[in-house]
Amino acid sequence: MAVFMQSLISGILIGGVYALIGIGLTLIFGVMRVINFGHGDILMVGMYLTYLLFTYLGIDPFVSVLITFPLMFLFGGFLQKVFINRVLNAAAQNQILLTIGLGLIMSNTVMLIFTSDYKILSTSYSSATIQVGGGVSVSTPLLISFLITAGITAALYWFLLKTDTGQAIRATAQDREAAQLMGINVKRMSILAFGLGSALAGTAGALIAPTYYIFPQVGAVFTLKAFVITVLGGMGSVVGATLGGILIGITESMSAVYISSGWKDVVVFVLFLLVLLFRPSGLMGKSRT
């Protein structure tokens, strides 16, 4: 029982970070109908940023979120304004190629600067654990990162549901032309959405930096995860991505304990295929007509 609780709790904790990554991708997809295949690379940039801030300025990775979030927001907004906005009316495969290309440029630039050596950001608490009772202990950095994730997610929900700008982003995702008829500048909303999506991915990168190896190609696996989460939750659904992220976290953690850690990705993809088979539009998705 303790083992079960243990893996359930760590699954939820890591799932929080996955949710952040997935929400970022789904937000971008919702507004622009473009899948950002460079999403994981943006996360990777966030990891390196955190690494630099820690190594050269001694800023704690969790505190550095305060810097990473706005910087990655500006970075994403810049990518949108300069590159993605130009292909919004282009064929889907061209948009995909563009985001893949941007991702490649990011990972190769980072490789040129830092080489492809694995970097480790180790803090005093990197391997610390906290006892939560019942023989269950959780990793301290994972717990802190989950709390930050929960805070950011709550703030994001508030922004999307309660503010005029947040509602305008949702309106643009639901009906771009009608949004224009409300006086909403949809190009600006796209820049905001891509900025926010990048800020979330970059922040996720900052949060996992103390517990993951940092290297230029680390993004690929997260792009894939983000994609699975987004499809699982229903393309464009923020609630779906939140649930999808947690679900993937739990599945990974459970299968690592009860099957073998080598099989956890397989189990995730089996789950993914099953959901697609029985609910093709995802957990929270509406079947599109």
Binding site: D164, Q167, A168, R170, A171, Q174, D175, E177, A178, A179, Q180, L181, M182, G183, I184, N185, V186
Partner: protein
């Protein structure tokens, strides 16, 4: 107030508007009638800048709309209630209304305008928390008009507001439009319901295959032989 001169427009190779001239004066209700595919919606899309500009000029309050982005047209006070309602399906009635007053200069009047549109459409007040996508067609139409009014329109464009509504509701909607007009909102209406719309209009234009073929006062056109035969089946 609004003046269109020699508007020509094509979707790719398909030319759909030919030298369209149209004018709306402050305080009027002007209707555009015409058969399916005549180019009525395309004319409105040109006004709201939702399509790439064709040739010709569109001026609103002296301003050349050809230079503006769609959201700037709305900021200028020209608001369109589009064909097919285009309610935000996953937003509540209240959220849809709030989006209607997204433009900065109109947010201050939000509470007052909500009270006003709830008075015009009491049904919306009852449905305040319902998701737009789950409303009936008639309710969605009321919401679409109410949402348009939330933005303090100086000129309101309405594309077939009576489509798919029961005769009683159609009459209700036309009464409300007349009332709104009396309160100072100028209206450009596109309608297939020729009889009802000509009855409430000051002036009207008849479009056929992308051209304006006839124009005159509402009651004049109601008495016109061509209109009676082609549109009223008399």
């Amino acid at each position: 107030m609004l003046r269109i001169d020699k508007l020509n427009f094509a979707y790719g190779d398909l030319k759909v508007l030919w030298d369209v001239d149209l004018e709306v004066h402050e305080g009027e209700i002007v209707t555009v009638v015409g058969a399916n595919g005549a180019g009525k919606s395309t004319t409105l899309k040109n006004i709201s800048r939702l399509v790439r500009p064709g040739s010709g000029t569109i001026r609103f309050l002296g301003q050349d709309l050809g230079r503006l982005q769609p959201h700037q047209v709305v900021e200028a006070g020209l608001i369109q209630v589009p064909e097919g309602r285009r309610i935000f399906p996953e937003m509540t009635v209240m959220e849809n209304l709030r989006m209607g007053s997204y433009v900065k200069g109109t947010r201050g009047d939000r509470e007052r305008n909500i009270a006003w549109v709830f008075e015009l459409f009491p049904r919306l007040r009852e449905r305040e928390k319902q998701l737009g996508g789950t409303m009936s067609g008639g309710e969605q139409q009321m919401l679409a008009i109410a949402r348009g009014l939330m933005g303090n329109p100086r000129l309101l464009l309405l594309d077939e507001p009576s489509l798919g509504l029961s005769p009683l509701l159609v009459k209700n909607i036309f009464d409300i439009l007349t009332g709104i007009n009396r309160q100072g909102v100028t209206i450009l209406l596109v309608e297939q319901n020729v009889y009802q719309s000509l009855r409430i209009s000051h002036r009207a234009y008849v479009m056929e295959t992308g051209r304006v073929v006839l124009t005159g006062q509402g009651d004049e056109l109601l008495a016109n032989d061509h209109i009676r035969k082609a549109y009223l089946g008399m």
